[in-house]
């Protein structure tokens, strides 16, 4: 994307102020966004994101700057601005000058798109959307259907003052259907939005019809649901996107971004039991074609599979470069950023609770009075306290070990460190679900995942 001489000059200029480390991140991203409303194309857009970010480390202190003037003069200005940003605090030395030989990282793609989004016609993408619309429109009480399509091809170059040179192309595609069912003044919506780091061949496996039908099914089920009860109850949480509970309750506080600032309740728990022994959890960037896959992270490190929790015992955090400097733990290939406007931070990839030995039926049968949260919505966490919340999109009462009537308006709140100990049953039907995770380095594609799990007690927010 840029020639070596120019990159070398920028990195050396940036280090002239005495930084220990300099890193240039350049990206050229093309995306397509399309939306159908009631089967008609309402929005067609997309464009070209193009820019560079330069990061300097002085010890563990970070100076970051970005520009979308990716010209020789633009990058020279950027390097100068970064070097001078330290102002009176910087002691100038030429430690960065000379002798920078780049070593190319052999970026082996974990998956290669067969129907690349940049070569596929927009009309073909619209045809996929129409198939999804057709499977949702008019099903039961569905009155309104929106279908959104996204693809994104991000080409990046990462070079640093240690001589690293890595180039990568990230291909992502996603289809989202939102269906609103209506009966008189009653109204409820259902959403489903699978995605992958694959080309359009993704839709050979996950058909657009299945996406539309699932959104319509949820909207119809929830339309006549009663309100969820409020209080502390046992909850069986469904597989796939159900893993958002682990993502919010525990994942974020296992990122060194939180750990390094003493903003994680797990900061001093390495090697100690933090969960029931039936819980093992993994953050994996190496699943070919998965939504959270990374060939290399945004610091140029090849992806890893990282065991976070093994039979209840904390085994690793998710560690980026600054996190490694701050905590002493080895990097795990977890440095990620939305785009060049963000410095990388430790972030999740595909994060899931691993398979256990029970079946979903075992878990449900063991509950006399509780909730089955079959489809989760999104959630959030306050890292310092571990207090989290998430919404349930499809829920049912469990009575006498059997799934009973549907419930609307349920949310689950709690504290990650406490509730991790309350996961008392794990089934063997692990699946992943796709979401966008927002944090300090922007919004990123991540998978959440789990088999069905049983939480002995959790605060359910409904109508009391």
């Amino acid at each position: 994307m840029l020639d070596e001489t120019m990159v070398r000059e920028v990195l050396e200029l940036a280090r002239a102020g005495g930084a220990d480390f300099a890193e240039l991140f350049v990206e050229d991203t093309v995306n397509t966004t399309l939306r159908l409303h009631q089967g008609e194309v309402k929005d067609a857009g997309g464009g070209n994101l193009f820019g560079a970010g330069l990061r300097l480390l002085y010890g563990t202190r970070v100076v970051y700057a970005y520009t979308n003037d990716v010209t020789v003069s633009g990058l020279r200005d950027l390097a100068g601005a970064v070097a001078s940003a330290r102002g009176a605090q910087g002691e100038v030395e030429r430690s960065g000058a000379g002798g920078l030989d780049f070593r190319r990282v052999d970026v082996t793609p974990l998956y290669v798109a067969r129907e690349h989004p940049l070569t596929a016609a927009r009309r073909d993408k619209l045809a996929l959307m129409r198939r999804a619309h057709g499977a949702a429109a008019g099903v039961g009480d569905v009155r309104t259907v929106d279908v959104s399509y996204l693809d994104r091809v991000q080409r990046v170059l990462i070079a640093n003052s240690e001589g690293l040179w890595a180039e990568d192309e990230r291909v992502q595609t996603r289809l989202m259907v939102s269906a609103i069912a209506q009966d008189g003044t009653l109204r409820e919506s259902g959403h489903y939005g699978p995605g992958a780091s694959r080309g359009l061949e993704f839709y050979d496996d996950v058909t657009p019809e299945s996406v539309g039908a699932e959104a319509a099914r949820i909207a119809n089920v929830m339309l006549r649901a009663g309100y969820a009860p409020a209080g502390r109850l046992p909850v069986v949480i469904g597989n796939a996107f159900g893993g958002v509970i682990f993502h919010e309750a525990c994942g974020h506080i296992l990122e060194t971004t939180a750990v390094e600032k003493n903003a994680s309740v797990f900061a001093d728990k390495m090697g100690r039991r933090i969960a029931h022994e039936c819980v093992s959890a993994v953050d994996d960037g190496t699943i070919p074609g998965s939504w959270g896959m990374v060939n290399v992270d945004d610091e140029g490190m090849p992806a890893q599979r990282t065991t976070l929790i093994e039979h209840g015992v904390l085994r690793s955090f998710m560690v980026d470069r600054v996190g490694a400097l701050n905590t002493g733990y080895a990097r795990t290939g977890s440095g990620r950023r939305q785009n060049y406007t963000f410095a990388p931070a430790s972030r999740m990839r595909s994060t899931f609770i691993d398979n256990g030995t029970q079946t979903p039926d075992d878990l449900i049968r063991s509950v006399q009075h509780g909730i089955y949260a079959r489809k989760m919505g999104g959630g959030s966490v306050t890292p310092g306290t571990g207090d989290y919340n998430f919404a349930v999109n499809e829920a049912y009462m469990i009575r006498g070990g059997e799934i009973a009537e549907p419930l609307r308006g349920a949310s689950l709140v709690g504290n990650g460190a406490q509730d991790l100990l309350n996961i008392v049953g794990v089934a063997g039907d692990l699946r992943l679900g796709q979401g966008m995770c927002g944090s300090v380095s922007g919004s990123l594609p991540t998978d959440v995942g789990q088999p069905h799990i049983l939480v002995s007690e959790i605060t359910v927010g409904g109508r009391a």
Binding site: G46, N48, N68, G74, K261, G384, T459
Partner: protein
């Protein structure tokens, strides 16, 4: 103008180049361009932990072809890239279904609004660093129960927004802000709590990091010693800051775009009384000190205040040019656009609830129930299509109007329309939120609480 094909134009030059190219080709085009620089500084344990400098610009294009809009954007402002973006917008328009009311308009003059103040040119890097350091240090040293100050910092932004179209419209405005934010983590008897405070201003010299840090510590410490909340339905007082957050989650109800797409629970209810007679809700983009103020909207339509609810009655929806044309009315200047990458929609600016007559000190008089000071999880737990919400909450227990103790993490649930109807008293003092809302505290008859 001279230069090579890869020469980067300014956003003003890019706008003129694109409009010229569109006119030459005989096509209708709108150009929305922004340029901005910003600085952010974070401090941790007395030192600068992170310093960021940002510079970004780009143009968003919206072409009108046979009644259909096609979009594209580019951050590469060289002429060949602009030509490609124009071509892409035209091709996208070919895909899109024509819609009634699609038109480009040369609007009248916008109000004169100073959103730029004295500027930041006289402010040194050192001064900005000192704000971040002072925030962190003051918060860390204010109370022995502060264990860490993991989140906080200083930030500023200096931006310019331009809009132009082939109907002859050409206008721009500059805006500046400086802000800071801090969230200390406090701990006592195994309980961890964290609450932030912030300040937003258009004049750097008005920033007061010491006050903000002390407020944040006071708010965080107040949450220590929390007890589980009871489950049930209770009378509640909702702070103005919290009410602002709650209502901003549901602002889409007042969008004519949501109404026409069948996604607003207020569809068909214009003129109906939907809230308590104590509720008058206004959206005002023209406040000089508002977070979301602007002289004109994303289409260049002049900004003006709009009354959405008047004494509980639904008096208006927010419109852009297209929704207004279809509804047979005028644009209210509420075309929104999340930057040049985004599409034109309809959105609020600064939502304001008119202060009532109850003195702030009396709003919770006699109430035994919940004092709600914060909600989280709105992106998933609030449903603008239905008005339903079920959210993580922060607050205190009230006994006969007195605050007895903070409550452990709990939930509140309900429907925003029921809540607006159930308002029994409105305080006389507005509180500003980080969402750009200005609202007084209210007392509501009943709120559903999920706790132990």
């Amino acid at each position: 103008m001279t230069g090579t094909s890869t020469e980067q134009l300014t956003i003003g030059q890019a706008r003129e180049y694109l409009l010229g190219a569109a006119r030459t080709r005989g096509v209708a085009l709108e150009v929305y361009a922004t340029r901005g620089t910003s600085t952010s500084v974070r401090a941790f344990q007395g030192e600068v932990s992170e310093f960021k400098l940002h510079g970004r610009q780009g143009v968003g294009l919206r072409a009108l072809v046979r009644g259909a809009w096609g979009y594209s954007f580019t951050e590469n402002l060289a002429r060949p890239a602009l030509d490609r973006a124009l071509q892409s917008a035209l091709e996208n328009a070919e895909l899109v279904a024509p819609e009634a009311g699609s038109a480009l308009v040369a609007w009248g003059e916008p109000p004169s609004l100073d959103l730029h103040g004295e500027g930041l040119s006289g402010v040194t890097v050192e001064q900005k660093v000192q704000v971040a350091i002072a925030l962190e240090r003051t918060a860390r040293e204010a109370d022995p129960r502060v264990t860490s100050v993991p989140y906080g910092g200083y930030g500023d932004s200096d931006s310019e927004t331009l809009v132009g179209n082939t109907q002859g419209l050409s206008r721009g405005f500059k805006a500046l802000y400086a802000h800071h934010f801090v969230a200390p983590l406090v701990s006592e008897n195994g309980q961890n709590k964290m609450r932030g405070d912030w300040q937003f201003t258009r004049e750097f010299t008005e920033l007061d990091p010491t006050q903000t840090a002390l407020n944040a510590v006071r708010k965080s410490v107040a949450l220590l010693g929390a007890h589980p909340a009871p489950s049930g339905t209770f009378p509640a007082v909702i702070s103005g800051e919290c009410l602002g957050e709650l209502l901003s989650l549901f602002a889409g109800m007042f969008s004519a775009k949501m109404v026409e797409e069948g996604k607003s629970p207020l569809a068909g209810r214009l003129g109906d009384t939907i809230g308590s007679a104590l509720i008058t809700l206004v959206d005002d983009p023209t406040l000089p000190r508002g977070l979301n103020s602007r002289a004109f909207d994303a289409e260049g339509c002049p900004s003006a205040p709009l009354t959405l609810l008047s004494a509980g009655r639904l008096t208006a929806f927010m419109h852009n040019a297209q929704t207004a044309a279809r509804a047979g009315t005028q644009s209210t200047g509420h075309a929104s656009r999340p930057g040049y990458q985004g599409l034109v929609g309809v959105g609020p600016s600064n939502l304001l609830l008119e202060p009532g007559r109850t003195p702030a000190a009396e709003i919770r008089a006699g109430v035994t129930g919940v004092l709600l000071t914060g909600v989280s999880g709105g992106h998933a737990g609030a449903h603008p299509y239905t008005g339903e919400f079920s959210l993580e909450a922060e607050g205190f227990w009230l006994d006969s109007g007195d605050v007895t103790h903070p409550l452990e993490v709990f939930t509140v649930a309900g429907n925003i329309l029921d809540l607006l109807r159930d308002v029994e008293a409105v305080s006389d003092t507005p509180e500003w939120s980080q969402y750009g809302t200005g609202m007084p505290a209210v007392r509501v008859r009943a709120l559903s609480v999920g706790g132990s």
